[in-house]
């Protein structure tokens, strides 16, 4: 299994500020995914981040609100910009190890509360 570390694990932020979540993987991976999970709900894909190219955003998510960096094959960041209470969620980083199993590995998530 992949070891995926996310920071911070949780944070409480003020409305209007921005927070950057880091995702570090223990091996090189091509595709990294960022998901949002609101309380009691399933995972919603925010964007796919491939190294060396711009992230691909899903409907309802835009780069200005959720800028993503992917500087190398083991690291990515997701920034939640100009936060509002509606952004309170768990944000999860996920990777495909590229072994053609289709299995996704997840970090433990970053629980964000916006006051």
């Amino acid at each position: 299994s992949a070891v995926i570390s996310q920071k911070p694990s949780r944070d409480i932020c003020q409305r209007g500020t921005s927070l950057t979540i880091q995702c570090q993987v223990d091996s090189q991976v091509t595709m990294m995914f960022w998901y949002r999970q609101q309380p009691g709900q399933s995972l919603t894909l925010i964007a796919t981040a491939n190294q060396g190219s711009e992230a691909t955003y899903e409907s309802g998510f835009v780069i200005d609100k959720f800028p993503i960096s992917r500087p190398n094959l083991t690291f990515s960041t997701l920034t939640v910009s100009n936060m509002s209470p509606e952004d309170s969620s768990i944000y999860l980083c996920s990777v495909d190890r590229g072994r053609n199993t289709g299995e996704l590995f997840f970090g433990e998530g970053s629980r964000l509360t916006v006051l």
Binding site: F33, S42, G102, G109
Partner: protein, 111 residues
């Protein structure tokens, strides 16, 4: 886009009871995965089903893939508190594809 439905949305049962949760699609799955997410953790893969009619067992969990590959079920025998979590189904991704999860079934097993 393949639309996924899962039922029930929520389930609360006593320890020792049996239960079945379902995953249905508007179109055919090439193959399907079930994940379980325990509180405070990320989802973890339980099983991949590939062939229509396939049945896979993982200890007390039995996974079935419909003959037409448009539905799947997960049956848990003698549920335990450790089975508590969110059960998610998703089509298996191909190499450069993304994974869209179903809405999930939240299971609570009460001691």
């Amino acid at each position: 886009t393949q639309l996924l439905e899962q039922s029930p949305q929520f389930l609360s049962i006593q320890e020792g009871e049996n239960l079945t949760v379902y995953c249905n699609s508007s179109s055919v799955f090439s193959s399907l995965q079930w994940y379980r997410q325990e509180p405070g953790e990320g989802p973890v893969l339980l099983v991949t089903v590939v062939t229509g009619g396939e049945v896979k067992k993982l200890k007390r969990l039995t996974f079935q893939f419909g003959d037409a590959r448009k539905d799947s079920s997960l049956h848990i025998t003698a549920a335990q508190p450790g089975d508590t979590g969110l059960y998610l189904c998703a089509p298996v991704k191909t190499s450069y594809d993304k994974v869209i999860f179903g809405p999930g079934t939240s299971l609570s097993v009460i001691p």
